[in-house]
């Protein structure tokens, strides 16, 4: 299995933004951060993780 450090730190940042948005859901800046930063980060981290899993399984 390859290392997953960058994916994990990316997901960590996204979780922190999501947590803040969840606690103050009417703050438009947090909503913007969740929508345009956290969600893409989650998707990128998950895609990179799944790619590494696939490469490991094939290798």
């Amino acid at each position: 299995m390859r290392e997953l450090r960058s994916e994990a730190w990316g997901a960590l940042l996204a979780f922190a933004i999501t947590l803040a948005f969840n606690l103050w859901p009417r703050n438009p800046y947090l909503m913007g951060a969740f929508t345009f930063v956290a969600q893409p980060l989650f998707v990128l981290a998950a895609a990179s993780y799944l790619w590494k899993v696939a490469v490991t399984l094939r290798g």
Binding site: L4, R5, A11, L12, L19, N22, P28, M31, F34, F36
Partner: protein, 232 residues
């Protein structure tokens, strides 16, 4: 406990668990894990390799998916509330006017007479049906980008075209509406949006002049009537 509170509690738990999981995964050296080592979780014992692989799946795939689904509840359902619109200070004049019992704008009359008892902003500014609601949400994302990046000027201006169908969804077919000759005369033009309901029924919100910074009404219209906000 209402649904929003339940979602908030669940999302908080998922996010905290995700943060802990992500930190552990970030600090784990997968290449140096030994399959012979095991971890006991009380009811089950796993090899360290299996445990950290499951943790990586949970922290990088399952928990993010759950967090996104739960947090998007606030994005899609929470934004139906007037308080959500009030979060952006440029919308304050509309909300202050909406809550003002002395105002005679269309929005205020609909609120104080309980014609639309709750979620008044969404009630008039989202078309019926899935396509209409999705269009309203797409417009909401555009507003979010412009507000958070500062690409707007006060007073804000409604760029789109107000669809009379938003009025028709409540008024069409009612005795009060259908019996009016003036409505019958322009029924087709109302249906095709060639004529706006507000042409005869007055301003829906405070005028642009009143909402302009420095105007006599601006300070009154910018009061936060729905409590403390963190957006200013």
């Amino acid at each position: 406990m209402d649904l929003q509170r339940v979602v908030q509690v669940l999302a908080t738990l998922v996010c905290v668990a995700g943060i802990i999981g992500a930190v552990i995964v970030a600090r784990t050296r997968f290449r140096s894990l030994r399959p012979a080592d095991s971890i006991s979780l009380g009811v089950v014992t796993l090899s360290t390799v299996a445990f950290y692989k499951l943790l990586a799946f949970a922290g990088l795939a399952a928990a993010p998916a759950a967090a996104m689904v739960l947090a998007n509840y606030h994005t899609f359902e929470g934004t139906h509330e007037v308080r959500a619109c009030n979060g952006c200070h440029v919308m304050r004049p509309m909300v202050v006017d909406l809550m003002d019992p002395g105002s005679d704008t269309l929005a205020a009359r609909h609120a104080k007479n309980k014609w639309i008892p709750q979620d008044q902003c969404y009630g008039c500014h989202s078309d019926y049906g899935l396509s209409g609601s999705m269009a309203a949400k797409a417009e909401g994302f555009r507003h979010l980008v412009r507000y958070t990046t500062g690409f707007y000027t006060e007073p804000i201006r409604f760029r789109g075209h107000f669809d009379n169908a938003n009025c028709f969804k409540c008024h069409a077919g009612t005795e009060a509406f259908e019996s009016r000759k003036s409505h019958q005369d322009v029924r087709q033009r109302l249906a095709s949006n060639d004529v706006s309901c507000t042409n005869c029924h007055g301003w829906a919100h405070p005028t642009r002049a009143a909402r302009t910074p420095g105007s006599a009404d601006y300070a009154r219209l910018m009061q936060n009537v729905l409590g403390k906000s963190r957006t200013q």
